[in-house]
């Protein structure tokens, strides 16, 4: 078997293509062996004095497959991230990423609170976007690094992940197993996380930014303007409102910690519910909570027609009826929480 000059070139190009798809580690050795085996095959298929031209060699190479398919089995795993890197990737996704995102969100909220909204690191919407970017960026970066390591160094501890699983198989304890959670006690982590995030945002607004953002906003002459509508009587209730919002966040944190509704979290929810009902009842008897000064609003450029509509609503006790509706909804929610708590206690 002899190769013509053109078939020699074809063979070299084919092997170069295979080499480029092989793992970086040990690549030279692999390609030498692949070439040796390929030449053995050709020698076996053709008599010693027969010449193999480009066309016949191409037919032989096609039987082997594309360079990529020839190289692929030399990777221990065809997964983008090799099994030995799974543990690291899982740690990044389930532990590191939530911690870093929580730290970013906390830093953002802290800067918002400390600067009283004047000069925070990010606006609230930017904070949501930054948290998302940091989380996805961290996962993506880890994936890219581990994919590169899997591609170029597939032989590094190829059995490590398996060994880790073996260790895990031996070392588990009954006390580590989670308690069974009934359908009524089940919670969704993402719902709780959202509840905590928006609860903290609400707390910051109530405690630090109320005077700046609470009112009616209108776009006048290309600029957003706000006229305050809440009276001092309403503002007197802000500490109480903030305490209730804080209790709500605590209830979510307890549920997140326990990964379920517990009797403790239900008691906090009921306590918050009673406090909410008392608050709304007190507000109903506190006189005027919302008022609109038409003169100031007109001087700030608010449209007179819109002001008429708002004043009409206020004149017909709209705020009172909204508070009554809130009171009814809170009462139903409280009743449901009490019934559920009693059922859970009786079941035990």
């Amino acid at each position: 078997m002899k190769l013509t000059e053109s078939s020699e070139t074809l063979l070299s190009r084919y092997l170069l293509a295979v080499e480029r798809h092989l793992p970086y580690q040990g690549r030279k050795d692999m390609i030498t062996e692949i070439k040796s085996n390929l030449m053995d095959t050709l020698e076996d298929h053709y008599p010693a004095d027969e010449s193999i031209d480009e066309v016949r060699l191409e037919a032989e190479l096609r039987k082997l497959g594309s360079p990529r398919t020839v190289a692929a089995p030399y990777f221990p795993s065809d997964a983008l991230i090799a099994p030995q890197y799974n543990t690291i990737f899982r740690l990044v996704v389930t532990r590191l990423m939530p911690i870093v995102v929580a730290a970013v969100v906390f830093a953002g909220l802290l800067s918002f609170a400390l600067s009283r909204g004047e000069n925070p690191f990010w606006s609230l919407w930017e904070l949501v976007g930054t948290g998302w970017q940091v989380g996805v960026g961290l996962i993506g970066t880890a994936a890219v690094i581990l994919m590169v390591l899997s591609r170029f160094f597939p032989q590094v501890h190829p059995n490590k992940e398996w060994d880790a699983l073996e260790e895990d198989k031996e070392s588990w304890k009954v006390s580590d197993l989670p308690e069974l959670v009934s359908a009524q006690d089940k919670v969704q982590v993402w719902e709780l996380a959202m509840g905590i995030f928006f609860g903290l945002v609400a707390l910051i607004i109530w405690l630090f930014l109320f005077d700046k953002v609470a009112g009616i906003w209108w776009r006048v002459g290309g600029q957003w303007r706000m006229t305050p509508i809440f009276t001092e009587a309403f503002k007197n209730f802000i500490p109480w409102i903030a305490i209730n919002a804080g209790l709500g966040v605590i209830a979510y944190l307890v549920m997140l910690w326990k990964r379920r509704r517990s009797i403790g979290s239900r008691l906090i929810e009921i306590g918050t519910g009673i406090s909410d009902i008392s608050l709304v009842s007190a507000m109903l008897g506190a006189g005027t909570l919302v008022s609109l000064d038409k003169g100031i609003a007109l001087s700030m450029g608010f449209p007179a027609e819109a002001l008429d509509v708002l004043q009409n609503l206020l004149a017909h006790n709209a705020v009172h009826w909204i508070m009554v509706a809130i009171l009814v909804a809170l009462s139903i929610d409280l009743l449901a929480n009490i019934v559920n708590l009693v059922k859970r206690v009786l079941e035990r």
Partner: protein
Amino acid sequence: MKIQQYWYLTLLYIIQYNSGMTHNEMIQEHVSRLSAELRRGLIVLVVMSQLDSKEYGYSLLRKLEERGFEVSQDTLYPLLRRLEAQGYLQSDWQIDEARPRRYYQLNELGSEVYQALHQDWLEQLKIIEEIVR
């Protein structure tokens, strides 16, 4: 068998039925696919059984073919390297022939592992023969 595999087989049946295959051809295709899966589990045992003496990739491939055990090049060659990486084989390049060839042979650990594996296989075979009558 997992539910996905049933779906896969059903889909395969529909495709084959509509592609004009005869029933026997279709059965044969199923059998050859499942048979390949069975062989895949035995390749390590079979390859190790042949490596008490030095063999290079292509010579081993031909040896197995001659004995009726067909294995593809892209399965055998990387497998030899994997068995070496796992510490069961030793290899060396011999450059005194027409071209450099890498020869593989069981090392001490590999021989012991193969003996134990072989024994285990014989026991499994007895059990399987009892089950699959």
